[in-house]
Amino acid sequence: MHLYPRYHNPLNVLSGLHRALQTPPWNPHRNDTTHGVRIVETDAAWVLQTDLPGFSKEDVSLSFQKGTLRLVGERDNPADAFPSKIERSFQVARELDVAHVSATLENGLLEITIPKPSIETNGPIEIKVN
């Protein structure tokens, strides 16, 4: 039996995301690489990556409210015909450190960094029995 908190498992922490990942933001029939959100991780954080070619920092806004991370982007009068709108919402576990979520948009790649909660996982934890 496991009594680990849910957030020990990244798959649980980001469980709301899993559903979001099933639906591509743009036309699913277009055979290109500008769809979808990928989740990658470092030792310290989970990183959501999404390709937004043509979008600049000013075109994109990110907000967090009631456990939902919301990404809205729109670029005006693009010179090319690549998608000009994106709107995605992700549910994230409330245990996550949302105050320290950061994001970068560089070369058309948006990266949202969610720090992993720092939990002591080394060695067994003694629990006092009263």
């Binding site: 980001l14 990942l21 990658v40 990556q49």
Partner: protein, 127 residues
């Protein structure tokens, strides 16, 4: 001519000498006022990792994405990003490659090729 356009205005390339692992990027073409514009989506590719070359009428665009120390969380991600992109296409003989200009902005590479003077419409006077 190995380059033609389908109904969705997507560039279709006849050349098959692709990079073994790099997929072809999505690209869109536009023709206007005697110029040919090719917009190529290269998200995650920086200027330093991008190479555009032209040899004997064959245009090659190769860009690699730097993934750094990031690795995928298995079972969650809807596929991983490609390591890079490569597009190879033959230029139409009516285009002037000498006057080609390239611009990379927000992950979109735009190549602008003017038509050759000899390809432009001219009226032939009748004596």
């Amino acid at each position: 001519m190995s380059t033609h356009y389908d109904s969705t205005n997507t560039l279709t390339v006849g050349n098959r000498e692709q990079h073994p692992t790099y997929p072809r990027p999505s690209c869109l073409v536009k023709t206007a006022e005697g110029t040919f514009q090719l917009a190529i989506a290269l998200p995650g590719v920086s200027r330093d990792n991008l190479n555009v070359s032209l040899e004997k009428g064959l245009l090659t665009v190769t860009g690699s994405r730097a993934s750094g120390e990031l690795h995928s969380v298995k079972g969650l991600s809807s596929g991983s990003a490609p390591e890079g992109y490569q597009l190879q296409t033959r230029l139409h003989p009516d285009l002037n490659p000498e006057a080609m200009s390239a611009k990379l902005e927000n992950g979109i590479l735009t190549l602008v090729l003017p038509e050759k003077e000899s390809a432009k419409k001219r009226d032939i006077p009748i004596n």
